[in-house]
Every structure is written in C-alpha cells, then in structure tokens.
Symmetry: C2
Subunit: 147 residues, 2 copies
Amino acid sequence: MTNKEQLKGETKRKHFRVEPIGFIRSDLKRREGAPRQGREGAPNALIEVLPSYRKALRRMQAGDEIIVISWLHRARRNVMEVHPRGDASRPLTGVFSTRSPDRPNPLGLHRVKVLKTDRGKLHVGPIEAIDGTPVIDIKPVINSDDW
Amino acid sequence: MTNKEQLKGETKRKHFRVEPIGFIRSDLKRREGAPRQGREGAPNALIEVLPSYRKALRRMQAGDEIIVISWLHRARRNVMEVHPRGDASRPLTGVFSTRSPDRPNPLGLHRVKVLKTDRGKLHVGPIEAIDGTPVIDIKPVINSDDW
C-alpha cells in the first residue's frame, strides 16, 4: 500500500466522538472577560466530574499538578489564521502556532494544581476557562519542564 | 437556575465531533513496540497535515517547540483504572492520574520540536505515537516550564 493510498483510507474516517467527562464551575461567566492564560489573573475553579467517570480520579490528591484538557465550546472552528491576541499589528499567524481558542478542534490545555478533592469535585487553579466549559481529559504532569 | 439544573442541561449535549487535521507517519508500526514517552527512545516522525488545514501552519518553523495532540485510535475507552505501566505491583490508579492511552477520550499529548517544515509536512521528534495516529491539534509551547 502506498503512502497516498494509506492516507486516503484513513481520511475515510472523518471524525471521532468526544464525550465530556465533567464541567468547569467558575466565576468567569463570559469569554470576553476571561484572561488568555491561567497565569494572567485567572481564578480558582471547580471541575465537576460526571458520576460515570469518577473512578478515573482514584489516587488523585491535593498538591498534584495536572493538565486539564477542555473543549472550548464557544470557539469558531473555521478560523485557520489570526493576528495573535487580536493585535492587528502582529503578523497573521496560523492557529497551530498560537493559543487562540478559535481552531479546527477547539481544545484548551490548562496546567493547574489540585487544591482539594471532594468525591467527584476537584478544586483547581488558577484556570482561565469560563463557567460551563466541558472537560474532556485530565492527565498528570510528568516532568515540570516537560509538561 | 440551580447548579443541578445547569449540570442537567449541559449533560444533554452528549458529545462533540473531533476531526483529524492530519496523521503521523512513523517507523513505529505497532502499539506493542511503542515507547511510553517520547524521551524513552522514540524516533522522529512526520506529521502530514491535510490540505484543508495547512493554512493553520502559517509561520511555523524549524526550531519551534510544539505540543501535538493526537487521538489514540487503538485505545480502550471503557478503562477507568490501571496499574501504572502495566506493573501489577503498583497500586490501582485512576487513568486521570496516569498517562495510559486507555481512557474515556483517548487523547495523546506529545511535546516535540519542529525539525523541518515542508508545505503540509512537519518533521518532528522524538514522538512515541504509532504510524497512522490521527492528529487533532497542534499548539506552541509558551513557557518551557509551563508547556
């Protein structure tokens, strides 16, 4: 099978299905008011994990550094290029070279600390995601300079 | 609206649709032979970005540090707890506290360096994803100790 045939076969599988495993509860209610990165004055927040996924939190504890992957449900998926941070004086840049929420698959990456765990509730912070944002995965940080 | 009603409303939206933006081309052909992390002897590889997403690569260049988010298409999505690294002597741990590919939404995170760009082809490495793995997002590393 040539590389071209292989690519053709794979592109038949047009999409995959992502299920929310929980939701962000935050005082940040609107995208317009949200900081662009957690370090830019974002608040702490709660991740409410849905009952069917709570087993996957086993052994997570306060002090853990984690990466939360969210689904930025308000983003525009047909945007391929942006002026970084909406600043027209910056050159047009492909979204894969920016952290713009607008991108083909609107995934958000948030490195946060676990402050407290309470059954299906994780208190984490700081995090710039707005209230109601679906969470689709959580992973531990392995090396501090790596993740 | 109470928190409970809000959660109920949101959980009506049962899933989201992720589109592959490209595919990994690698000499790693089977999951069994794959290193668990890029630093554990993984090879360099190619990311072939599909034509409709190539604009999103604008201004990406050799030397850039990026985070590749993959869809681990061979993973089992109903696994909530594992013995880390398949080592039965390690305590059972929720998948959200491990980097197991088996998890509700099988996303892979790979921090790699761009070695060369050639239209829709990114040479990157090292990366532990197997040949044919769909890529769903690419983001720049912002702070070396952050991402």
